[in-house]
């Protein structure tokens, strides 16, 4: 690794450190209903929305909160599906695109509602500008806001005592959109336009190239879409090549902004949590646990992506190719160096799924890191909101194991963890992992499954595993050599995304309800400290151990075997 790349990695990590805390503090003001610098602008809008929709800022119990989340998201799913199926009758369709096959449309609708943005389709040739704007982009906002809302409910459950009140979903949803997502998206979108990202309603450009060939260039409201796609950790690209497309991510600078946007809310929310529990050290311990793991993953990915691919060494002997260069297949020139692997880790630890290079062409161990990032449960920062609540679930498991070792009924933030709580916690935190295993196993028996894959046997297996993992992790990135656009895959992966999103959400809300009803045990020296370095360490160990034990066999048969074969030359 040369010094420039190390500098690049450190530079990005420092940026994350710089933005996370202020963002967290700001979100605390917003979600605790305190006045902030946006209040003068947004408060009238907020009041107007409540008035029109008949929302009163009264607390909801867990069941009502959950019903609101589900109702709102199901409605979103139906509307989005309908928009796609009728897009040829709707405006802003300069290419005259027809309705996609219904299973693809359903898969896509689920994908955007669940904040996954798995793209089984090629956007340029499948969805109209109207579908992108009014359908997909809206879900980019509200699916992110739904995630934030559920995490807030869990935090409130942990903080409040002897109450049913988890806050109000409609209020959380509205505030997420108005105060957090919208302002940042507007500014970032303009920044991206400055860097070269288009924002227009023109039809595709028909160019005649310098050498006289014809070239059709896709256009559209790319910048506005791109900003919210990263900020909401959605990841669904305006174009097929996603953030590798020069129109989505034209410069190294735009790339840094996009990576920061992805991590901004997930990282900030951890500090928001610290503020909510009136002990910023609680937030800090969780943050550093996550941050250090994140840094290690980045170091690993950067290491493998900046060392040469041994496969070319043999070729170099017969012809004069520069085999010592970094692996550049599936990478953009402007993202050579650290930019590609850092982005890959950023997008897989958060449940974003945007890509600025083709993961399928990465070195096997980078693929391992990408897979493992997602398999840990999307909690190393994780998705917007979902990362926060999943991280808290693992904190609960850690407290449960460690708490016993100090001789008390385990408690987190003064809330005792009894049988029902541990049941809900275990189910919610292990659910997506179980889906990853089950779906990838079922896939084996699907006729033609092997034909959907590409490359060596272990790599083919990795592709399938990646598809199951990415959808259950609500990530959306892919080993894209895998052909997922078949009727079967669209249905099973759609189902996977749906249950892996909403089952844990409901369980988390139930858990929040149970915690809220409990009293808080006061802190004493007999209390397990959950705000220090030791706890952060234990949390990391529990996360790695549970994830490792669950997925190492599968990973051994995929990327690890692939790596061993590639580097040893033994097949």
């Amino acid at each position: 690794m040369d010094i420039k790349v190390i500098a690049e990695v450190l530079f990005f990590l420092v940026l994350v450190l710089l933005v996370a805390k202020p963002m967290g503090n700001f979100m605390y003001l917003v979600f605790d209903g305190k006045r902030n610098f946006l209040s003068p602008v947004m408060e009238p809008v907020e009041k107007f929305i409540y008035k029109v929709s008949g929302v009163k800022d009264s607390g909801q119990g867990w069941a009502e909160y959950a019903l609101s989340v589900i109702a709102f998201n199901i409605l979103g799913l139906i509307v989005l599906f309908a928009i796609m199926m009728f897009q040829q009758f709707l405006p802003l369709n300069p290419q005259g695109l027809k309705a996609p096959e219904w299973r693809l449309a359903l898969n896509t609708a689920i994908s955007f509602v669940t904040n996954t943005n798995w793209q089984a389709y090629t956007p340029e040739s499948t969805v109209s500008y109207f579908t992108q704007m009014v359908g997909l982009a809206v879900q980019n906002f509200v699916s992110a806001a739904s995630g934030i809302a559920v995490s807030l409910a869990l935090i409130r459950g942990l903080v409040r005592k002897q109450t049913r009140d988890l806050g109000n979903f409609w209020v959380d949803l509205t505030r997420s959109c108005l105060y957090v997502l919208l302002p940042i998206a507007i500014i970032s979108a303009l920044f991206l336009v400055w860097q070269g990202v288009p924002q227009n309603f023109s039809g595709y450009t028909h160019a005649v190239t310098v050498e006289g060939a014809k070239q059709v260039i896709g256009q559209g409201t790319v910048a506005s879409q791109e900003a919210i796609k990263e900020l909401g950790t959605n990841g669904g690209g305006f174009f097929n090549a996603n953030s590798a497309h020069p129109y989505e991510n034209p410069t190294p600078l735009s790339n840094i902004l996009e990576m920061l946007l992805i991590i901004l809310i997930p990282a900030g929310l951890i500090f928001t949590f610290g503020k909510f529990v009136h002990d910023i050290k609680q937030g800090r311990a969780l943050f550093y646990a996550v941050f250090i793991t994140f840094a290690i993953f980045i170091a690993g990915a950067v290491y493998y992506e900046t060392a040469p691919n041994p496969a070319f060494a043999k070729g170099a002997a017969v012809t004069n190719i520069s085999a010592k260069d970094i692996p550049s297949e599936g990478k953009e020139t402007r993202f050579f160096g650290g930019a590609s692997p850092i982005f890959s880790v950023v997008t897989t630890v958060t449940s974003c799924g945007a890509v600025n290079n083709m993961h399928d062409s990465n070195m096997p161990m980078t693929g391992f890191i990408e897979l493992f990032d997602m398999q840990l449960g999307e909690l190393i920062f994780g998705g917007v909101g979902s990362g926060m609540y999943t991280l808290l679930l693992f904190a609960l498991i850690t407290v449960f194991l460690a708490g016993l070792m100090i001789g008390r009924t385990p408690e987190y933030l003064g809330k005792k963890i009894g049988p029902t709580e541990i049941k809900l916690t275990a189910a919610a935190s292990l659910f997506s992992g179980i889906m990853m295993l089950v779906v990838s196993a079922i896939a084996v028996y699907v006729p033609g499954a092997a034909a959907s894959t590409m490359g060596s046997v272990p790599h083919g297996f990795s592709q399938m595993l990646y598809a199951a993992t990415s959808t259950a992790g609500n990530n959306g990135s892919a080993f894209a050599g895998f052909n997922a656009n078949t009727g079967f895959w669209n249905l099973i992966l759609g189902l996977n995304m749906f249950v892996a999103r909403f089952v844990p959400m409901i369980l988390v809300l139930m858990l929040a309800g149970r915690f809220a009803a409990k009293n808080v045990t006061p802190v004493s020296v007999g209390t397990l400290p959950t705000n220090d370095a030791l706890f952060a360490f234990m949390l990391v160990m529990v996360i790695l151990l549970v994830g490792g034990l669950t997925f190492l066999p599968a990973l051994s048969m995929g990327p690890i075997a692939d790596h061993m074969a590639l580097f040893s030359g033994i097949r």
Binding site: L75, A241, H245, T333
Partner: protein
């Protein structure tokens, strides 16, 4: 339950209007004023006709032009994407060797090592840039084809070079379309 569904509906409509219509339109309007060139796709025009976008690679075959990196989608800007071929896939090594042969045939004057980025497809298939090394590799051919001396062409490359951001982020690189258009003006001299 009824109340919840009603609230859902109203909320959904309002948020759709705000985030799905007002938001992109606002960005569009502001961009049109602030950055009209970028907003329209950074298009290069010759008269009324669009030659291409500086951000989108186009196919160059002729020896007098610098060539962009190989594209897995044949530079189809309405269908971007990479090869997605695995690093461990023997087909990749084979493809690289095939391209190396072609490059050697294309640049018979050059005996140096062929930079890897000229032998691998980009992620989008529309990568508008090549590394300085890749440009240097092609300089002899371009100069010969254009009847210019190598130094002049190299100067053009350095003139249009994009350095690393802050000195350490990204490689030294050059935009192929910009370079070729610039060379065309040099030739005209």
């Amino acid at each position: 339950m009824k109340q919840i569904i009603k609230t859902s509906l109203i909320m959904f409509v309002i948020l759709t209007v705000i985030t799905g219509i007002l938001y992109p339109v606002a960005v569009w309007a502001a961009a049109k004023v602030l950055f009209p060139f970028q907003a329209e796709g950074s298009l290069v025009k010759k008269g009324a006709e669009v030659t291409g976008s500086v951000l989108i690679a186009q196919d160059f075959q002729k020896p007098e032009y610098f060539h962009p990196r190989p594209s897995a989608v044949s530079y189809d800007a309405a269908n971007s994407g990479g090869s997605n071929i695995a690093a461990s896939n023997p087909d990749l090594a084979k493809a690289v060797l095939d391209r190396a042969d072609k490059e050697k045939k294309m640049n018979p004057l050059n005996t140096g090592l062929i930079p890897m980025d000229m032998l691998t497809t980009s992620s989008s298939g529309l990568d508008p840039e090549i590394t300085i090394k890749a440009a240097q590799w092609q300089t002899k051919r371009v100069a010969a084809a254009r009847g210019l001396d190598e130094k002049t062409v190299l100067e053009a490359v350095y003139k249009l070079k994009e350095g690393a951001l802050l000195g350490f982020i990204g490689p030294d690189r050059v935009n192929v379309l910009k370079l070729n258009l610039y060379l065309d003006t040099v030739k005209a001299k």
